[in-house]
């Protein structure tokens, strides 16, 4: 009797064993598919799917010609999604990516944590790379301890584009540096909802890299701040309330339809289709606006510096940049790819293969010396460079603050805090709550962060 059951149990164990073995076989079989093919190296590049990056993806065959042994696979996602995915991977040491696209917000913080490879040795060995050519404010923003941990693909400040033809027609004159009061007057004048035409386009989509970027420049120029020097949160101060109310009211009254879900891309489409008189956003917009392939308003635009209130200048400083996570197993191949995408030669490639309007702006000073680019960029090169040079806390803030950054607060918690505040403001833009309610809730979010910096203890 025991013999029978003994045998039986061994049999059933056998079945189990068989099942497990078959499972393992199936698994190892499928596992093969994911490893690289012999001799070739594969790198995975995570980028944000903005037009300039898509141009780079479409030109990848040029890179393959130079480096036939490196396979490049792209993961390209919209800004918010890309940021979440890249941060998760790098912060947890997940190691999925060999090249990541990040900004001057992440670079110093992540470099301090040892998550990013130091690029100085690679830069030093690369002939003709000319890192002194990078725009100084950008280069500094991408360094930690004086060493570059990311290199810029394109850099930007913020400024205002407007339809010069319509301004002339209406007898209006845009000053070189308008105030927000003037912007509101112009918007009211030119707003024409019956024709589907809005006085201004502004971002409303929630996200610290979306609606919060322009809103923070408004907060700064109105004399507001996120935290005072004691790390006391200031989001419900009168200055911030006034600044945000101005922005939200301008957008709700004279802004584009679907305001609360419009990000950079939607605003660009709206302006490109000739449906807005003004748009305050990233200076990198010129690659889209001045490109006849995507824009119907080429030739009727002009540019002004970011609107101000209490400060001499306004505007942000931002750079989409490429970096190598410390976890990458293919650092040299990753650098080869980064070199290709940020080298002076790349600008010639884009100019010749795609168009001169599509050059990634704001990363290299030499870009503005390229004759073909100088020809077409006459009316926006100067505002771009002026904005970027003056994008400092001294020039565009009223009060001293304990953090770095203009349109962001350079602390690790900001990615989350900013997104949550952005959501509150987006809800205010949608009309689902008042600006005061949104800022009171935001203030509570900021308070819990402030405590970790010693406020209230």
């Amino acid at each position: 009797m025991t013999g029978i059951s003994h045998r039986m149990s061994r049999r059933s164990l056998l079945t189990t064993g068989f099942g497990a073995a078959a499972g393992a076989a199936a698994l190892s079989l499928t596992g093969c598919g994911t490893t690289g093919r012999g001799g070739r190296e594969q790198i995975v590049v995570a980028i944000v799917s903005n037009p300039q990056m898509q141009d780079a993806m479409s030109l990848i065959s040029d890179f393959h010609r130079q480096h036939p042994n490196i396979d490049v696979r792209f993961v390209s996602l919209p800004e918010n999604e890309a940021r979440a995915k890249i941060t998760a991977s790098v912060a947890s040491g997940g190691g999925e990516f060999d090249v990541v696209m990040i900004s001057n917000y992440e670079t110093p913080i992540w470099a301090e944590r040892g998550w990013l490879a130091d690029l100085e040795p690679y830069i030093g060995e690369t002939s003709g790379y000319d890192d002194d050519d990078f725009i100084p404010t950008i280069r500094e923003a991408l360094s930690y301890d004086g060493r570059q941990h990311a290199v810029p693909f394109y850099g930007e400040s913020s400024f205002l584009v407007y339809r010069e033809d319509l301004f002339i027609e209406a007898g209006l004159e845009m000053p070189q540096q308008p105030s927000w009061d003037q912007i509101r007057e112009f918007a009211a004048e030119l707003h024409n909802p019956a024709q589907g035409f809005s006085g201004i386009a502004l971002r409303g989509l929630a996200g610290w890299g979306e609606n919060l970027a322009p809103i923070n420049t408004v907060i700064n120029t109105f004399g507001g701040q996120w935290f005072n020097t004691d790390w006391e949160p200031m989001l419900n101060s009168t200055e911030v309330v006034e600044a945000v109310s101005t922005y939200v009211d301008t957008l709700r009254t004279w802004g584009q339809p679907g305001a609360a879900t419009s990000g950079y891309g939607e605003c660009m489409t709206h302006f490109n289709q000739g449906n807005a008189a003004m748009w305050y956003d990233a200076s990198a917009m010129v690659s889209g606006i001045e490109d006849p392939r995507s824009s119907t308003v080429v030739g009727s635009t002009n540019y002004a510096l970011a609107p101000v209130m209490e400060t001499d200048y306004s505007g942000w400083l931002y750079a989409w940049s490429l970096a190598i996570p410390e976890t990458s197993q293919h650092k040299q191949a990753a650098w080869d790819f980064i070199t290709w995408m940020t080298h002076p030669d790349y600008f010639q490639l884009v100019g010749n293969e795609i168009s001169w309007e599509a050059l990634p702006p704001g990363s290299r000073q030499s870009t503005y010396d390229i004759p073909e680019y100088a020809d077409i960029s006459g009316h926006y090169a100067e505002p771009t460079l002026t904005s970027m040079e003056n994008a400092t806390q001294q020039n565009s803030m009223v009060h001293e603050v304990p953090y770095d950054g203009l349109q962001f607060v350079a602390i690790p918690e900001f990615q989350d805090l900013g997104t949550r505040v952005g959501q509150q403001l987006s809800a205010a833009i949608a009309g689902q709550q008042t600006v005061e309610e949104a800022l009171d809730q935001s203030q509570r979010f900021a308070e819990s962060v402030a405590r970790t910096y010693g406020w209230g203890n």
């Binding site: 059933s12 609360a260 959501q423 949608a430």
Partner: protein
């Protein structure tokens, strides 16, 4: 049920024999359990161990972006949740989306099942057309609704309401919850219809016929004969619908990203955001634990119903 136990020997039972019998019973127990074990172990490893880790995380302050700050904080993550108004509104949205969707899909599904529970030309084709929304990949379905249907400038819905003179509506930002529920109802109605149709068709015709012979009106027959018979199927549809819909993520992620603001975030989406945007592991884990506790309470009640129904069916 017979077993392989051989006929009992007629001898008196010695202690040794008793032990042997016990051992045999134990062996028999394991022999029966053995085929179950691989599956059981697999599920435990894949679901329970991560969940234990979630509980562990929920008691610690850990943010992926601040690796230095990790420490044991007891229940303070839970305390924070109770003052988080977004968590409350996400919980409310979860309830609204789940019950709104299940209820609407049930009513529509019942209507469709009744329409299909009679012979007519092309019944097979109609049924095939009707179940298709359920078979479309949810990601495709969500984008189909948010872009092709609800887009404010070229969406089909605005064009249709435009035909009767209603001005265009920005559906996903003005009515985010409604838009999501519409897309979900479209997807889940076929599911309800299929279950309820199976229920209707398992009705014994003679009972219906007897009822109408006795002079009962169609409505009375429906109320007093069909509905009681369908009760098990309705309960089952609601329960399964809730199980599947309460975890909705795809539609919210793709249609509104929880917005505008957090107006349409449900619990899965909000916890996801805390985890993959905030990287606040402690906080998101605590929310996960709370959600699981709530789910367990609800599902204990629900499962009891399913079991009662199933047992009743198995014994019938």
């Amino acid at each position: 049920m017979t077993t392989t136990t051989p006929a009992r020997p007629p001898k008196t039972q010695s202690a040794e024999e008793l032990r042997a019998r016990k051992a045999a019973a134990r062996a028999e127990g394991w022999r029966r359990r053995a085929p179950l074990l691989p599956a059981l172990i697999f599920v435990i490893v894949c679901t329970q161990i991560p969940f234990l880790l979630t509980i562990w995380y929920s008691l610690r302050s850990r943010n992926l972006l601040r690796p230095e700050g990790e420490q044991f904080v007891g229940l303070s993550n839970f305390a924070d949740i109770f003052v988080d108004s977004t968590f409350r509104s996400a919980a409310l949205n979860s309830v609204l989306i789940t019950f709104g969707c299940v209820f609407a899909a049930l009513i529509l599904g019942l209507g469709l099942a009744l329409l299909l529970d009679r012979p007519f030309a092309g019944r097979g084709v109609v049924r095939t057309l009707l179940i298709t929304p359920f078979l479309i990949m949810p990601v495709a379905g969500a984008m189909l609704w948010s872009i092709s249907m609800f887009n404010p400038s070229y969406g089909l819905v605005n064009w249709m309401i435009g035909l009767v003179g209603i001005p265009p509506v920005d559906w996903t930002s003005q009515y985010p919850l409604f838009s999501i529920v519409v897309a979900l109802v479209w997807q889940w109605t076929p599911f309800m219809m299929l279950l309820l149709l199976a229920g209707l068709q398992s009705q014994q015709r003679d009972v219906l016929e007897a009822a109408s012979m006795d002079g009962a009106s169609t409505w009375d027959t429906f109320r007093f004969v069909t509905v009681p018979h369908l009760r098990f199927y309705i309960e089952l549809s609601v329960l399964l619908g809730v199980i599947y819909v309460v975890n909705t993520f795809d539609h919210i992620y793709l249609m509104t990203a929880g917005g505008p603001g957090t107006a349409s975030a449900n619990l899965p989406f909000y916890i996801y955001q805390r985890a993959f945007l905030g990287f606040d592991i402690g906080q998101s884990a605590a929310m996960g634990v709370l959600t699981v506790i709530a789910t367990i309470i609800i599902s204990l009640l629900a499962l009891r119903l399913i079991f009662r129904g199933l047992n009743a069916k198995e014994q019938s």
